[in-house]
Symmetry: C2
Subunit: 256 residues, 2 copies
Amino acid sequence: MKQSLEHFLKHGHEFTLQGISIDNVIFGFHEGQLKVLLLQSIYKNMWMLPGGFVNKTEHIDEAASRILKERTGLSAIYLQQFYTFGQPERANNQILVKFLQGLNKNYDKDNWALQRFVSVGYYALVEFAKVNPQHPGEISTASSWHDLDKLPELLMDHNQIISKALEELRLKINNQPIGYNLLPKEFTMKSLQSIYETILGRKLDRANFNRKMLSYGILDRKEKQYSGGAHKAPYLYSFNKKKYFKALQSGLGRDF
Amino acid sequence: MKQSLEHFLKHGHEFTLQGISIDNVIFGFHEGQLKVLLLQSIYKNMWMLPGGFVNKTEHIDEAASRILKERTGLSAIYLQQFYTFGQPERANNQILVKFLQGLNKNYDKDNWALQRFVSVGYYALVEFAKVNPQHPGEISTASSWHDLDKLPELLMDHNQIISKALEELRLKINNQPIGYNLLPKEFTMKSLQSIYETILGRKLDRANFNRKMLSYGILDRKEKQYSGGAHKAPYLYSFNKKKYFKALQSGLGRDF
DNA sequence: TCTTATTGAGTCATTATGACACAATAATAG
DNA sequence: CTATTATTGTGTCATAATGACTCAATAAGA
């Protein structure tokens, strides 16, 4: 595989757009927590967002989608562009520097991939259980989920990118299929509430959340199921896709 | 001036980022209508958004700001990045082709400015009366305001860019200082309502709008003033800047 | 002085919200 | 087999917000 990155660094400028990159913030939900998928880089073992470049004839949305698939194995996932980061300091990717140094102490300091990049940020909402985290062995050594409230210090401006992703998600919370993509087919009201609480950054009243969510008429209630807890078993719900997406067009209710 | 564009097309790649452009959607409010500032291009006299390129050491926000100033004479204006447009078809700018043809029938088809561009969209909210529309004589022949509901067919994907700007403005209407930037210091409730109606795309009840807007506690009421109409004179209001921006942090009420 | 368009303010029935209360119940402890 | 415990489904209730109105006040022109 090392072969391919080396080739990419030598010839990438021939088939990818220069100066543009993609960063994906991949959200998943597990054990009551909203999580982000990160890669551990070969540079100082620091964590980073999965990202990549755009092919010359590719829509930037396609590029984001392709990169997402490479990291999660998932396709046809909810992916939303949220912001573009264009500080002039976004250059000299230390991971690539390190990689190039590994190849040759006197590496090419004018390599195309070390120039300034404007990065387009996308966030993905994925179903945790369906993801099989993968990572490109050349620049990263691991891939794993991290709790949103316990993020490590990330490379470059990646902490800022995640913050912005969450902020944009919050601003559009009533116009995006939040739970639909993060939860499995059937889920409890509690887990849906947890997602809203994390995105909004505050606790919600259980009974009121229940009432409001049901009032939208977008949920179908299933039968109760074994819950594993020493308490009353909760109902399971699933989204009524048709009603949900119809309701989203005009936006759900205001806030919780 | 023709000299400078020619020089720019020859040497621009030395000091601007390649493959990135900026498009500004400049909103103004006049005579009860929300308007957009457009340039008339030398290509088929078609209208287009004011746009430009990013210098190599410049933040993309600065570039947008600089371009805005070049077209309106205004600085320190509310400017918000809203979306990045990256279809692969965004190439071969016909205006520049026409300009290059004017210089030389056998113009350089590989000129850097004819390649594919990913364009970052910004919208600006400006006070109509303070704007003195300007236009660069080399690629455009005029600059003028156009009603949002009577837009001509624009170059490239510029119609789509304006639609998206309006959509994003609508989604964030409760978190942006809408009126603050579009209206003069003192304004009537009716004009503020018109802005909301245009952005939201529907009529609002006058009395209810009044009640709700006042309930936010962000407006200071001035004395009535001569209005020129054959009817009761309306009060004038101004935004209480401090209270307004404080209220915006958590977002104003949902909808009207 | 009268007419007209538009404004500021108010009413009222309906719905939404926030803050609780309480009985029901699935697993576990004894 | 019963008691305990945590959590759930549902209900209440005071308060606030909303949508659809009404109506007197008034600035300018007829």
